[in-house]
Amino acid sequence: MLTRATFGGDYAGIQAVVGMDIEDWVAAEINKPATLYLAGLAARQNAGENIDAQEHRGVLWNNMIGANDQLRTRLVFALSQLFVISDADMYGQTLQVGYFLDVLANNAFGNYRDLLEEVTYSSAMARYLTYWRNQKGDPATGRMPDENYARELMQLFTIGVVELNQDGTPKLTNGREVETFDNDDVEGLARVFTGFSWEGPGFYTGSQGNNSKRLVIFDGEHSSLEKRFLGTVIPPNTGGDESVKIALDTIFAHPNVAPFVSRQLIQRFTASSPSPAYVKRVADVFDAGRYIAKNGTVFGTGERGDLAATIAAILLDQSVNDNTATTDVENGKIREPVLKFVHWVRAFDLTDIDSAREFTLRDASSPSSGFGQQPLFAPSVFNFYRPGFVAPGTETGARGLTAPEFQLVNEGSAIGFMNIMTRFIFDDTPHSGTDPSFTPDYGPEIVIADDPAALVDYIDLLLTGNTMTPELKADIVEAVTAVPVTSDADRQRRAQLAAFMTISSPAFAIQR
């Protein structure tokens, strides 16, 4: 459960949940206060620190590694892969991203409809999908409103491109998929997302200082034309905020939202290729807004779109908690590189964590010299990988199983990940300053390193939840045994070698 719902645990963390009701654990996580981003960043700036070099990146890593509200933070990372902004062009706009992360954190266990609205009014999204200061059309010049957000809001954040059954599979009419919207809908909806700007005296005069506040709509710059999309007609001369409300209500009411969002959230937590039955169970909870666990614990408010209920349904589903979870060969989640790295940090109780000082963590997106993935830094609004990706030439692909993370985790990136992890495991990563940084604690491992089998058993529990195959374990034990031990330095070598081999293994890569 720790691997599925958090960024992983250390030995003490694992022992703490042994014997605990998982329903109680999930409920406790949901009730923890949110770790937020903006206030801390703003305070640092007010104290004179230059936070322009995207200091939020360090904060995000720090929270993934150390925040107490692990489930919420894990969900923030998941939501950041649904509502994708790239902070690549946010240099000097750190607070704007801080505000956006707060929107995700504050609404993570709230309602999806509210989340949609707050994301829509966030400066970071408006910048990324180019509707910040988006002008209404101009009949004199022929200028049309920017269509970017209108399209991606429907395609990527809510309903997707084809009509779905409640289990996430496409609806077929005469054997063909049915598209949810066409370009006329995009053009009509594009008129809604006009007039957004920073708060201030005018459309073009809002202060940059307001970029970490909710955006406002200037009705003078908002399209006054009729807005027609998805069967809804917003009459002419409807104001901006009212138009946005009608638009989001219309989109949110679409039956695709539950299966579309549910399937992608499942993929971020528990299964790369969830069964249609699993998707339907979660989508039904999304629509009902309530989940009642086996032990009677009730999650959610009963309002459609409740994310606390949805997450509980994902994590507590029978398919991930009964025996088939480990025996079903189609089960499991390919862990994205960020999850693997942070799990290692947590498992080995690293100290001297100041992520902003670690050069790798400022931009880990290179598959040859980083992890091949940096949070908030997807190459496009289509995220690091696509939910429907089926890997060619693989056994999962032959069965039609989706494997989004194989778009990052593949032949081309295998060595790069091994090599960057080697530098972390051997405490040799480049960082600013001469003070130690990201220092692993091999103390517990050194104590048992004279017994390679015990050492590998321990690491098997720590990193893979005891999912190593006998052959894998034997390979690691053999190599570890081959390191002769004459000192604690050698015992540490054994621990490091065992950690490296485990981290490179399929047992660590695939969460079950």
Binding site: S369, V381, A414, R493, I510
Partner: protein, 478 residues
């Protein structure tokens, strides 16, 4: 067997030295094959311009009438460029003239490239670069009236980034598993069992569907070349003393394994990919280290270093037993909904400089006649602006360059920017493609050595178009 002899011949250092720079490699390639022709060396290099390249801000009208039509459709954009100042890169007088040999077919119309693309203009004028106008996904020849005609077959999910990227690469919407780049390499691998399937499909960029094939798997190379596993290769990490060698040897075996007794399918796939990644990368690395490397200095841009990786790989193709290769590189940033004037010119500079360096490297290696580089992009953009940017379109213009290209010509169609014309959709001025992606691909595939049957198998809608070869790689226009 002729192929084997040919490769053995190339392996000899003296022979390679003799051939370098003479450009005779492709002229040696001949012979009627009953399947894909695999004689000599041939490579296709795809540059995918992600986001949807604004074709109309790239191949720009240079006659006053067309220039004014476009300017009037884009007042915001031309204003932001400062057009009229005399110093704007989009001022008519500053455009670099294209003088196509087929100018007559465009009447009084003239074309130019922005000054950021001087390098490409020079290659065009030298006869080694062609422009293919108004290419896009089509099921069948399509006109404006077809767009509203019941029963007309249109490609699904037009104007959607990911789906149109997938359509350009694989002729299917997102979720398609195999690309036509992979299919072309597959044809060569099927025809010649001596070819190494590990390096027939090489990406220096992301792991996209274009290179997914059935006979081989995509190999990824990075700017620094392939890498080894440092914990194995650099003894000091685990400990430099020889007493650690036994553990290192076991580790060496371990990372090259492609399975550890897994039953879970995702775990099995991971193990296989990881092990193969190590094996293939090491073999590539060994070949690269034993070669003298390439002399050409490439720009430090992302596209520059990706094309440098391609040039590196081509320089060792004989050592890798790969005489048919399809490469894939990419550039991002073309989705210019906003701030287009701030971003597109820089992308154009990067593209032009990287292609120019690549050409130099290929000429130096004596491979320029054997390599064809071409651009793709999921769509062109609207002719009408939205203030300071443009939105998703359909058809767009593309570049093809190489020593075998029948260049200094504009193929396909570059319609005059009269938005009421039949070439445009009824709103926003989106180009309705004149040339299908499959005709574009077929022309490349035919040069690459595929026969008509193989092309038809790789390109499912090609049969709906009478012209199967656009002629930009010489030979008959059919």
């Amino acid at each position: 067997m002729a192929n084997m002899n040919r490769r053995n011949f190339l392996r000899s250092g003296a022979a390679t030295g003799f051939l370098a720079g003479t450009g005779v490699l492709s002229t040696l390639a001949s012979g009627k094959a009953f399947a894909a022709n695999t004689s000599g060396y041939k490579a296709l290099v795809c540059i995918f311009l992600k986001g949807g390249m604004d074709h109309a801000d790239t191949v720009i009208p240079r006659d006053q009438t067309s220039y004014d039509l476009l300017r009037n459709a884009r007042p915001g954009l031309y204003g932001a460029y400062g057009v009229g100042s005399g110093t704007s890169s989009r001022d008519l007088a500053r455009l670099h003239a294209l003088n196509p040999t087929n100018a007559a077919s465009f009447g009084s119309r003239l074309f130019g490239l922005p000054e950021q693309m001087l390098g490409l203009q020079e290659i065009f004028e030298a006869g080694e670069l062609a422009i293919v106008g108004n290419v896009g996904p089509l099921i069948e020849p399509t006109t404006r009236s077809d767009l509203t005609r019941i029963g007309a077959q249109l490609p699904p999910r037009l104007f959607s980034h990911n789906d149109q990227q997938s359509t350009w690469m694989s002729l299917g919407v997102e979720g398609a598993q195999y690309g036509w780049g992979g299919a072309f390499a597959d044809a060569a691998l099927r025809a010649d069992s001596s070819l190494n399937p590990r390096y027939a499909m090489v990406s220096a960029g992301p792991n996209d569907v274009f290179l997914s094939g059935k006979e081989g798997r995509q190999f990824t190379t990075s700017a620094g070349g392939a890498q080894g596993v440092t914990l194995v290769d650099q003894p000091f990490i685990l400990g430099g003393e020889s007493r650690f060698n036994a553990a290192r040897d076991l580790l060496d075996e371990y990372v090259s394994k492609t399975g550890y007794g897994e039953t879970n399918l995702f775990a099995r796939d991971f193990a296989r990919q990881s092990g193969n990644g190590v094996i293939n990368s090491r073999a590539y690395d060994t070949a690269l280290e034993s070669s003298s490397g390439i002399a050409t200095v490439f720009p430090g841009s992302s596209i520059g270093s990706q094309l440098r990786s391609v040039a590196n790989t081509i320089s060792i193709q004989d050592k890798l037993d790969s005489n048919r290769q399809v490469f894939y590189v990419f550039m991002g940033g073309f989705d210019t909904h906003s701030g287009q004037t701030n971003t597109l010119p820089g992308l154009q500079t990067a593209l032009s400089e990287a292609i120019s360096a690549f050409r130099t490297s290929m000429v130096t290696q004596g491979k320029w006649n054997d390599v064809t580089l071409f651009t793709m992009s999921e769509f062109g953009r609207t002719t009408i602006d939205n203030g300071d940017g443009t939105d998703h379109g359909w058809g767009g213009h593309h570049f093809v360059t190489g020593g075998s290209v029948a260049g200094k010509q504009i193929y396909g169609d570059i319609p005059t920017p009269d938005l009421n014309g039949e070439s445009f959709t009824s709103t926003h001025g989106r180009l309705i493609p004149k040339v299908s992606v499959e005709q574009y691909a077929a022309t490349l595939g035919s040069w690459f050595g595929l026969d008509a049957g193989e092309l038809a198998a790789a390109l499912p809608n090609l049969s709906n178009f009478s012209q199967k070869n656009l002629g930009f790689l010489g030979g008959a226009t059919t």
